[in-house]
Amino acid sequence: MKVNVKYIGQLSYITKKKSETFDLENETRIGPLIELIINKYPSLREYVDLKRGPSIVLLNGQRIEFLEGENSMVKDGDEITLLPPLGGG
């Protein structure tokens, strides 16, 4: 299955890209997927460490704290966004 991951702000400077597609064999929970992404870009850990925070991780636009946290299921075609920990309109 394919999952689109977007990197916002300074996170896109760490990854050197604004977004990319991850091709995964099976549906997965978001926690292991975030670990996979951090393994690819170790400097991201400062921003998206789900255990320590601060972090904002969106699954299809919703913060994962208000889904099932690290256990939120990621499905084919989903969009994950990793943001610097800031908000505002």
Binding site: I8, G9, K18, G61, T81, L86, G89
Partner: protein, 638 residues
């Protein structure tokens, strides 16, 4: 009373007379800045006052921390009765003017009356002069400011000026800063430029050499140093702010499905990447720049190196301009938005209201309500940047369609009629901003309760993006307070945030330092009332606890509401365009959502001890806040 200059300059442009008011009259109960502004306005401008008459008053105020080493102590506040909304109005901008005004010996300038001929105010080292501005009338903000500096021989003066839009009484006109390190800071909302224009006041110029003394210099500086360390250790203020300013919000709100697009018809923009902060940094950024006392440097300075706007170098757009002059009107190229921003600042037009009213016209065109023949042959299809630039010019000079659009979306829709009111996105007459209400409920409650209309800065509840569910329960009574789609807890959150914002605006400080660019709520708590009360107390020698400071914030918010109640505002006006209540997005991160406003409003009024049925502050609350002079005027309910 240290840190204050100690006096307020009062100018009557009709009689050309000056007087001084002792700042002590306001300092203890209203601090300065926005608090001082609302008290002067409430006392001076009654409900029958025409905003364009000589009886309207323009208050230009700094705060007690202006001119000190307090981080972010850069803000100048303008208060007036708004010609755009007909109610309480203000606008606020960074730069270096606020500090310079204090060096010139004043905590505020209260401008009354009307000049017969174009004039400007020149305020320098305890002296104020009304000078002839005939030579600058008809000039842009930047050109007028530069010429005034040259003619005065004051290279380092700080200036706020209006452009042609303000002169022509365009209701969405702004007041723009000019001066070293300060070009283009916009006090934009609510049409303050037109208030200056109605007074024939082209500019306020200030320069001074007087010192600012704080009560306990060593302890004060220790608090400042501690705050700087906090700012340097936070990824929001230390990284995101200087790298992107607020422009990072284009893709952030895009991911949240709340990036205003095509006059609020969509929450996602197909050219989002092309107008993003990341793109601006890569292709256009020249330097990040800060205001007085700045540790964030969120302001963008940009260069355009190719294309039709090649050669431009100057201030770049912030998020609100990127969205309202970009995605909202379908423009997917940054160079055109940069140009639109420059033109709007030069003519003196609010880019939020300007982008909104152009998007409104484009939607009317899309729906066949406006035809090409009616709009002078303009091609109003989405994304036509040449039309956007032409409309900015037409708005400034009250020509063609611009003559109607410059009235703001509310009045423009009343003029056009034919069902266009449905597509006029405003609350209380002020145009909505670039974050869509359907994707951020706390911000939206703030748009609705803000005293100047649809305003994101009245509450700025970033907690709903960065807060933790357990913090929501602890501080605001519900985990939902930390969820951007939540309902419970939002009333209490917005009340608390509004009081925090009122204090920041009254101390003369910048929101990006004390709350907005914060990656944790812990930081907001530390730099909020706690830090602000220590900075205020050590600077002025007037001891105030964090809770006493918050109480002043509550007093300011209640007096602002009282001003509006006296103008006829009640709960019925705390509302949203129907689109946000009934039309969900089909796709994106906020798909399927509409705003559930009424329960949030109930909680808000209850938290404020305002009457739930009418939204009018109760007598008991007003007396508690020392606002007894308001009780009878607004017929406060028991």
């Amino acid at each position: 009373m240290k840190a204050y200059a100690g006096k307020i300059l009062e100018v009557d442009l009709t009689t050309r007379k000056f007087s001084h008011i002792d700042t002590k009259k306001y300092a203890k109960d209203f601090l300065g800045g926005r608090g001082l502004g609302v008290k002067v306005l409430y006392d001076s401008v009654g409900p029958q006052t025409n905003p364009f008459s000589g009886n309207n008053v323009l208050i230009c105020s700094n705060g007690p921390l202006s001119g000190t080493s307090a981080p972010g102590s850069s803000r100048t506040h303008f208060t007036f009765k708004s010609p755009l909304t007909g109610i309480y109005g203000y606008s606020n901008a960074g730069g270096h003017f606020a500090a310079e005004l204090k060096y010139a010996g004043f905590d505020a300038i209260v401008v009354k009356g009307k000049s017969e001929k174009p004039c400007y105010l020149y305020v320098h080292d305890d002296v104020a002069e009304i000078k002839d501005a005939s030579a600058y009338w008809g000039e842009t903000t930047f050109s007028a400011g530069d010429k005034i500096m040259k003619d005065l021989g004051e290279r380092y003066a700080q200036i706020f000026a209006i452009g042609q839009a303000g002169e022509n009484l365009v209701r969405i006109s702004s007041i723009i800063s000019v001066g070293n390190f300060t070009e283009g800071k916009a006090a934009a909302r609510c049409g303050g430029g037109a208030v200056m224009g109605s007074k024939k006041l082209k500019a306020i110029v200030t320069i001074g050499t007087k010192p600012v003394e704080v009560a306990e210099p060593e302890k004060f500086q220790a608090e400042v140093d501690d705050m700087i360390e906090t700012l340097k250790s936070d990824k929001g203020s230390a990284e995101t702010a200087p790298m992107f300013g607020t422009s990072f919000l284009v893709r952030s709100l895009g991911a949240n499905g709340a990036l205003v697009t095509h006059n609020f018809q969509l929450g996602k923009f197909e050219f989002e990447e092309a107008i993003s902060g990341e793109e601006m940094r890569e292709k256009y950024l020249w330097k990040a720049q800060g205001c007085y006392g700045c540790w964030n440097r969120c302001c963008r300075y940009v260069v355009i190196r190719s294309g039709p706007f090649k050669g431009f170098a100057g201030k770049g757009p912030e998020f609100e301009t990127l969205s309202m002059m970009g995605s909202n009107v379908g423009v997917g190229r940054l160079d055109a938005i940069i140009k639109a921003n420059e033109l709007a600042d030069a003519y003196g037009i609010d880019t939020i209201s300007g982008g909104s009213v152009i998007g409104f016209a484009m939607e009317l065109y899309q729906r066949g309500i406006l035809t090409k023949e009616e709009v002078g042959g303009l091609d109003l299809r989405w994304g036509n940047y040449e039309t956007v630039l032409e409309l900015i010019r037409q708005i400034a000079f009250k020509e063609g369609l611009g003559k109607i659009l410059g009235e703001g979306v509310k009045i423009a829709s009343e003029i056009i009629g034919r069902g266009s009111e449905k597509y006029a996105m405003h609350t209380k007459g002020l145009e909505h901003i670039g974050g869509d209400p359907r994707g951020q409920t706390g911000f939206t409650l703030g748009y609705v309760t803000a005293p100047r209309g649809a305003d994101h800065l009245g509450a700025l509840p970033v907690f709903e993006y960065i807060g933790k569910p357990e913090e929501g329960i602890k501080f605001f009574g519900s985990a939902e307070a930390a969820n951007r789609f939540g309902v419970k807890g939002k009333g209490r959150l917005v009340k608390w945030q509004e009081e925090l914002m009122a204090i920041e605006d009254s101390l003369g400080t910048c929101k990006t330092h004390y709350s907005h660019f914060s990656s944790t709520f812990t930081k907001i708590l530390k730099l909020g009332f706690e830090k602000q009360s220590r900075l205020f107390s050590l600077a002025t020698g007037i001891e105030l606890s964090p809770s006493q400071l918050q109480k002043i914030g509550e007093r300011i918010v209640n007096l602002e509401r009282a001003f509006n109640v006296r103008e006829g505002i009640t709960r019925k006006d705390d509302s949203l365009p129907e689109r946000f209540l009934k039309e969900p997005f089909k796709e994106g991160g906020s798909a399927g959502r509409v705003v559930n406003l009424e329960p949030m409003l109930d909680e808000y009024y209850e938290a404020r001890n305002w009457d739930i049925r009418t939204g009018i502050p109760k007598r008991e609350k007003l007396l508690e806040l020392g606002l007894d002079f308001v009780v009878d005027e607004i017929r406060a309910p028991a």
